[in-house]
Amino acid sequence: MRLIVHNMLSCNIRGVANKFPLRIEPKKIIVKEVDFNPDFLKHMIAKIDWKALVDGARSMGYTELPDHAPDTTTLESDESFLRKFHHSLLELHLEEGSLVCSETGRKFPVNKGIPNMLLHEDEV
């Protein structure tokens, strides 16, 4: 699971108010290179919850991201920022670990990079 997905996943349990973001408890992280595409990054940046990305990256051991996303003008010119964004969003993989709901503490296990988001009968 990459941070781009973590940034979109919320806790789906019925009745939970604080569903996003899920806290990452990593056990195994790998890095897989992906082609750098600035167009895609600029397209996605508007949809990304920046704080969740920074916190998620930190829990995976990556601390290079700035606390705030830059404005559009800096985005166009600052390639080093885009590279950091690219790396954290698309190249860090959580292979083993869990995603934890902040409100209920429920753990969604991650195995072989696949989060198990199946809810039990009483959570639906």
Partner: protein, 289 residues
């Protein structure tokens, strides 16, 4: 034709390790899935600006459809309920991210993050109640509601479905419209039993109309604009209006006494042996007849 898988077992049980491998190694299936995925991507009508988009592949299975998405230059997130199928996807080192989940429980994705969604041969599984606690209608509602929310403005969802019957297709369509989607059904090769393929193309309208036509409380569906589909496909555009029942009861008005007398006279002129007309001709019988 073999039994429909949906009638044999729930998807996470039907697609066990053996079946998952069989599915993915069958060149015929791989070929069909690739073609269906290409067509679905076409129907997504993503802007052709060379910018990769982030798509959702619902019921991604072993990643066959996902590969088509990657080949077209987009990033994707796949969701499937069968761990065995997803394991095959991992083995094949697909480029997309994978989630083990049940679409009938809702997608659990933040609003507006997805640029488009496709689903190849998966949504019909929602119509089955595989557990006693399942109610297909509720599951369809959870699915379509959560899908509508996570799609960005103007994004589309294209589902290739194999509905078991008309009722199933209508159930799926109705739930989609109730969730707020507009859209229509695209049928490729409508006259060939073998080649016929159905695609449900759903759009997230950017403007919600508040004035309704009176029959129900749902938004009007926006009709499908691109009639530039290939020549073999027929377009049926639907919105949430009361449609007349497909089967009309035979009209008894045509068989009145006058009509009967006319027909008998015609027959006599032809030279047939016709019983004489009397006060009993065309008399209304008791309901049991």
């Amino acid at each position: 034709m073999a039994n429909r898988p949906e009638l044999l077992a729930p998807p996470e049980i039907f697609y066990d390790e053996t079946e998952a491998r069989k599915y993915t190694s069958s060149s015929r299936i791989v070929d069909i899935q690739a073609k269906l995925s290409e067509r679905a991507l076409e129907l997504l009508a993503l802007p052709e600006d060379g910018v990769p988009r982030f798509l959702l592949d619902i019921g991604c299975g072993s990643g066959l459809s996902g590969e088509t998405i990657s080949e077209n230059g987009h990033h994707w997130l796949g969701l499937d309920i069968s761990a065995s199928m997803l394991n095959v996807a991992v083995e094949r080192e697909v480029e997309g991210d994978l989630l083990l989940g049940d679409m009938g429980q809702g997608l659990g994705l933040r609003p507006g993050v997805i640029d488009g969604a496709i689903s190849i041969s998966a949504v019909q599984w929602l119509c089955n109640a595989d557990k006693s606690s399942h109610e297909p209608r509720l599951r369809l509602k959870a699915f379509f509601g959560s899908l509508y929310r996570c799609l960005s403005r103007g994004a589309r969802a294209v589902f290739q479905v194999y509905p078991e019957n008309i009722k199933q297709r209508e159930l799926i369509l109705r739930q989609a419209l109730q969730a707020g989607f507009g859209g229509g059904l695209v049928v490729d090769y409508p006259h060939s039993t073998k080649k016929r393929k159905e695609f449900l193309v759903l759009t997230c309208g950017s403007v919600q109309t508040s004035i309704q036509t009176g029959k129900n409380e749902h938004d009007e569906g926006c009709s499908e604009d691109d009639s530039s589909e290939d020549e073999e496909s027929g377009m049926v555009s639907m919105s949430d209006r009361n449609r007349p029942k497909k089967r009309q009861k035979p009209n008894k008005e045509g068989k009145s006494r006058e009509w009967m007398l006319r027909k008998k006279e015609q027959s006599r002129r032809k030279g047939n042996d016709v019983p004489a007309d009397s006060k009993y001709t065309g008399r209304k019988r008791k309901s049991r007849f």
